[in-house]
Amino acid sequence: MTLPPLAYHALVGFVVLNVVIGMVTYVTLLERKFAARMQSRIGPYYVGPHGLLQPIADAIKLMLKEDVVPTTADRWVYNLAPIVFLVPCVLIFATLPFAPGLGVADLNIGVLFFLAVSSLEIVGLFMGGWGSNNKYALLSAMRAVNQIISYDLPFVFAAFVPVVLAGSLQMSAIVAAQQGVWLGFVPKWFVVYPVIGQLAFVAFLVATLAAENRVPFDILEAESELVAGFRVEYSGMKFALIQLGEYAHMIGTSFLAALLFLGGWLGPGSEHALVGALWFLLKAMLVFLVVTWVRWSFVRIRVDQILAISWKLLLPASIVLLLATAFWVAARGGDGV
């Protein structure tokens, strides 16, 4: 097939965008069902068989809701914030290859692009908190800036451990570096790489929780003290956009974790692109469920405690880990493992 490159990218981008939105919708159902099981409940059940149409019903409900703008809000900032928030959250999927050759763009600086774009969401978030002209929202935005600045550094350092191990910033090259097995049966995923792999994975997961604003680091949502944080004034479709962005960010980060540490699309039968994509999806959902599991079993910690964890523990630890990895790789001859 010979499409001009621009049209090809536009087409693939369109497909990926829709798949992501569909996935986000259904991941909420997955989370709700999973949480319900944990809490000895049933969860959504009545809309469609076993509640399968619940996300659709929710989406329709949100679209039909009245859109309320507070009279004291800064209208431009307030209305623009959900879009500014959503765009980087969806844009992170641009460089994610879902299988060999299946993705919008496999940039040679893919990981860097992902990390850079994903931290842009804070702009939209702060705009929402500021533009709402609500004290809860303002406090929440203040917390968000604190938290994201503190956790983006360990997040980047932990994500760079596999990059150093693989010797490339390109996502497909990182997966390629995890091909093969040790001792005949242990896959060479970076999560099983002795010591370094596990430490980096844990650091990455913790930083991920904070970057996604999930419990125990969800201080900016903090519904028990700040009601709903920066989105307290949003309703209807604007609320839905923010929600969509949050979940897209969460899924994107789960995909990144699966790609960096769990071997991406590698698995039996992954020569076929679709089987590989299925493997990748499975691993990403596994990461997502772990995050959800944490969410439903811990209490939220305080803002000062969150900052202390980042600056006193996670950041030094991840820097040391990255340096150790770099020295190890350099000692073994330089160009990845």
Partner: protein, 382 residues
Amino acid sequence: MPQTLEIGYGGSERLTMNMGPQHPSAHGVFRAILTLEGETVVGVDAVIGYLHRCHEKLGETLTYVQYPSIASKTDYVAAMTAELAYVSAVELVGKIEVPKRAQWLRVLAAELQRVASHCLWLGTWCMDMGGALGGGATVFLYAIREREDILDLFEALTGARLLYGFHQPGGTRYDLPAGWAEQCRKTLDRVERRLDEYEAMLDDNAFFLVRTQGVGIISRELAQEIGVSGPLLRGSGVNHDLRKAAPYSSYEDFQFRVPVETAGDCFARYRVRMVEFRESITIARQVLDGLPEGPISSRPGVKSVGQVRVPKGEGYARVEGARGEVGCYLVADGGPKPYRLKWRGASFSNLSVLPHILPGVKVADVVAIMGSVDPVFGEVDR
């Protein structure tokens, strides 16, 4: 210890934030006007009264037969003990005897009520720290499940799930229905087993500990000066429990421990209540094991609303409710209605400690501390 009121301060570095009366963790309709410097609370003005229903005036217009089921509505989370406080006052002033079986039944009801009330406290408190969508909701749903079992028992006993009308001057209105004791034992066993699960989930949970240990410390002196009671007082190192200190309704017949913690923080109050759970279950089992035979009331059944008349006199009866000392001061003038009625709500006295311990904490701790105080606003505002 003076309270610093910062209302009206116009400095640009400070933010006045209204928490309540409609707020996810207001536990009812409590309004706290917080003055913040960044995340730190520097001033707090507690506003109550949003749930005032003229309960004491109402008590003067209803007869001694009618009022017990209204007394439930002061503390609707632990209605049994509120009723018990009122009928105890009536019996004290009217010198009405209560048969042994009725006394034991009252103990049973009060202890089951304590378990149910503490279940609700545990769930809502954890929800305050974890949020309705957060980790806390898990504990909330577990705890509500156990409370539901106890409410089923109460429903079988009295026909009502929340406001019972179980007590009446002279005894209780209902006896145990057939098969109730067996059902009760099963429920107690189940609740006890699940308490282990809660403790396994919370006691060593690092995030739970950092949120509760050293947070909201009420010193022994402050606790005594303010007059807090119940788990708050015992969490601050004062061994005072009316069931031991001034036994009523045959509490001297039962073997139980009174837990005391010295730290005075949220975690100490949590520990006190977790032990109280188990002690209440022990007492309830002792009642079921040795329930004496006999009448359940020293007075004939209710035929008319005005049939109980109390001679002129006054008296104060107090019981140990789930939240502390619940007292009822009654002035009788010889008629079928009290001349004057005054409630001492445990939540009201406990809540008044908040302005002393809140300044200096972070916003997130405000809800954690308030949850650990366990106020019920029906009892605060009456």
